[in-house]
């Protein structure tokens, strides 16, 4: 299927439309809302299911040195992307070093929902990917934070003091990393038998749950946009759309070097192109409180996420088909 057909079809998928519904509802100031506890429950479900499935597929395909290389490459990507992002932001926008570093951390890290959405698109196309990409995703969550703190400290020494030990434990053991890796391990250990046991829980309703979660993300993104869009200068918005493409290019190069499959390439591109909106914001509040959280979050959730969901993912899949096909 060519890229325009893919993109067109993607735009009218239930997933994208649910996000659009949420976005529209909150921009129109409807009081539609998903309770916090329900949103968290949906995200626990998605993390568990995607992690578990990745583990099962590693159980089936067996393990090789590839996993180790991919993990290392993921860590390197996550640590490197903030350098690029920071340089671009300082060049084109007026963000100060601290805000630029905070934004850069978000773009080096990853968004699991973007990963999940790409995975759902691949599944719909019948394309498989290396199960260990789940572990790579988890490995890419944290390194960007380290780079960003270093960048902020360089630019503004008072701002980011010596990171305390507790911070590192917190970042590395944050709930989404632990659940993703834990579910991956469970899937790996229990394999296809385990999957058969709980398949009607983690497979059947998966896309529907994703739709409701995207509805919630649309609501939250819309609320962020209507409150904080004025904080985003045109240059910053341009960054929000351009940076995913830069990340995607870095991801594509890495995927080629690793020799990943078409699906694996699409996933790695997507991860590199995506921006965190859960783990990194919390870490930034602790370690870089001077950064204005509304800037990075509105950019990540209100600009980059919708871009990736609508145009990015079909583009990354098309690119992967060209490059690794």
């Amino acid at each position: 299927m060519d890229i325009f057909a893919l993109a067109g079809q993607n735009l009218i998928s239930p997933m994208v439309l649910c996000f659009a519904l949420g976005l529209g509802a909150s921009l129109a100031r409807s009081d539609l809302s998903v309770p916090e506890a329900a949103a968290k429950a949906l995200s626990i479900y998605l993390l568990f299911a995607i992690g578990f499935k990745g583990g099962v597929s590693v159980n089936e395909s067996g393990l090789s040195a590839d996993l180790a290389f991919a993990l290392l490459a993921g860590v390197a990507l996550s640590a490197a992307i903030p350098l690029v992002a920071f340089a671009i932001l300082r060049a084109i926008s007026r963000l100060d070093a601290v805000d630029a570093a905070a934004v850069a951390a978000h773009y080096g890290s990853i968004s699991i929902v973007t990963f999940v959405a790409a995975s759902a698109s691949l599944t719909a196309l019948g394309v498989t990917y290396e199960g260990y990409m789940v572990a790579v995703a988890a490995a890419m969550e944290a390194p960007a934070i380290l780079t960003a703190l270093w960048l902020a400290h360089r630019g503004h020494p008072a701002s980011a003091g010596p990171a305390e030990a507790g911070l590192w434990r917190e970042i590395l053991l944050n709930g989404s990393i632990v659940l993703l890796i834990g579910a991956f391990a469970i899937g790996w250990i229990t394999g296809p038998d385990g999957r058969a046991e709980i398949s009607s829980f983690i497979d059947a309703p998966f896309r529907g749950v994703l739709c409701l979660f995207l509805l919630d993300m649309g609501l939250v993104a819309g609320r962020g946009l209507s409150r904080s869009a004025r904080l985003l200068s045109p240059a910053v918005v341009a960054f929000g759309v351009g940076m995913p493409l830069v990340g995607a290019a870095l991801g594509a190069t890495t995927a080629l070097a690793l020799g990943l499959s078409v699906g694996g390439t699409a996933i790695l591109i997507t991860l590199a192109a995506s921006a965190s909106y859960i783990a990194v914001p919390a870490a930034m509040r602790v370690a870089l409180p001077e950064a204005n959280p509304a800037i990075s979050l509105t950019l990540s959730l209100g600009v980059t996420f919708p871009f990736n969901l609508t145009l990015g993912i079909p583009l990354y899949i098309a690119a992967a088909q060209r490059l690794a096909g």
Binding site: S33, E36, K40, E170, P281, M284, P289, P293
Partner: protein
């Protein structure tokens, strides 16, 4: 009804700082506190709400601490050290308590 003088200290602080505040209070010898959820608010950094949020960033909690008057300063110093560069509001009010032996 026999009551005793005490201070009611309310610390509204970012949720990601909860663990650090709790540790600091414990180190400062605070014997008890309760944490209440906050569902939204507004301040110089704009309005916020917990609705539909998954991450802890972008949320506050309210820590209520009833202490003997003489424990007030140690507590405030501990809280201030944690708050430091962070968003948050600390208020202190006079109150009376029953069962003072519990403080």
């Amino acid at each position: 009804m026999q009551t005793h003088q005490a201070k009611r200290i309310e610390i509204i602080i970012e949720a990601p700082m909860q663990r650090r505040l709790e540790e600091a209070l414990t180190r400062a010898g605070v014997t008890g506190y309760s944490i209440l959820p906050v569902m939204g608010g507004n301040g110089r950094s704009g309005p916020w709400s917990r609705e539909g949020q998954v991450g802890r960033a972008g949320g506050l909690i309210a820590v209520v601490c009833i202490v003997r008057p003489d424990a007030k300063d140690a507590l405030l110093e501990a809280a201030l050290a944690v708050l430091d560069r962070h968003i948050g509001v600390v208020s202190v009010a006079d109150c009376e308590v029953l069962r003072a032996e519990r403080f």
